[in-house]
């Protein structure tokens, strides 16, 4: 079985999810993930649909375990976990794969993401400020600044998404086919 390893960095999970599905469309299905390192296995193109989920707790937490067990029961495979992120896939032949079919859960998910990005962004910002007068850290600071900028953009993007979802929720229920 052919495999392929790709190294990539994603700041926002949405782009990552889109990329994983594009890879799956061309016959490369994600098998494992570890810090920038994606390992793909060659399968029939379009066999799987991928989704990325952010858990409320670490995967070892009983609540997370119960959720992942449930996903397994309904035909969703947990491909890999990384910190609180989990990579999920479902066979495309089993129908469309969305994690949520109501606005409230989607809003909750966006809030978890905003919180995480905010915390990571803040930590990077602190590093930048702490190293402003450090002549030896000039270059690493630039990296931190870039991370802060990208996360700030992502937070703004997801905040806008929450606002849109709340607006839609005020009108009615989500259509399942969407």
């Amino acid at each position: 079985m052919k495999t392929k390893t790709v190294y990539r960095i994603f700041v926002d999970y949405e782009k990552e999810e889109k990329w994983l599905n594009e890879m799956a469309q061309t016959g490369w299905a994600l098998e494992s993930f570890r810090l920038m390192r994606y390992v793909f296995k060659q399968v029939e193109p379009g066999t799987f649909t991928y989704r990325i989920e952010l858990l409320s707790n670490l995967p070892s937490h009983p609540e997370s375990k119960a959720y992942m067990e449930f996903l397994d029961e309904v035909g969703v495979e947990v491909v890999d976990t990384s910190y609180r992120w989990i990579f999920l896939r479902k066979r495309t032949s089993d129908g469309p794969f969305q994690l949520y079919s109501d606005f409230d859960s989607m809003i909750q998910r966006e809030k978890r993401i905003i919180q995480l990005y905010g915390a990571v962004g803040l930590a990077n910002f602190v590093v930048v400020v702490a190293n402003l007068s450090n002549p030896y850290a000039q270059w690493t600071i630039l990296l931190n600044i870039a991370v802060v900028a990208m996360l700030a953009y992502a937070v703004q993007h997801h905040t806008r998404k929450v606002r849109t979802l709340k607006g839609l929720k005020a009108i009615g229920e989500m259509k399942s086919s969407d």
């Binding site: 989920e53 959720y67 449930f70 996903l71 029961e73 309904v74 035909g75 969703v76 469309p96 969305q98 994690l99 949520y100 079919s101 109501d102 409230d104 859960s105 909750q108 998910r109 229920e173 399942s176 086919s177």
Partner: protein, 107 residues
């Protein structure tokens, strides 16, 4: 924590979950039932279903059945059934009003 009043309209997901749990079912069974019943219009996504089941158990409207094989099964409780009935009354009122006030539009 059981409360019957204090809730307005049920979400479509909760309404259909309660309907499906008149008989014990596991998660996948609920998804199948709801999809077939609504001719594919309502599809419970796994994350939504899981979240709804957790809050319904917490409310005491449904309960998890002990030791029923590998897949966890759920069943509606008396409180849940009461909530379902009162929602049905609310829906009937909505439908009745809808018909009354759109009659002239139809003709």
């Amino acid at each position: 924590m059981t409360q019957q009043s204090n809730t307005g309209a049920l979400t479509e997901a909760v309404y259909y979950i309660l309907l499906s749990l008149q008989v014990p079912r596991h998660g996948y069974g609920m998804m199948q039932f709801v999809q077939e019943l609504s001719n594919g219009r309502v599809q419970l996504a796994p994350g939504t279903l899981y979240g709804a089941l957790s809050s319904l158990v917490e409310r005491g409207w449904i309960r998890a059945l002990e030791g029923t094989g590998r897949k966890k099964e759920y069943e509606i409780t008396a409180t849940g059934r009461e909530a379902l009935r009162s929602e049905l009354r609310r829906l009937e009122e909505l439908v009745q009003h809808g018909h009354e006030w759109t009659k002239e539009l139809d003709t």
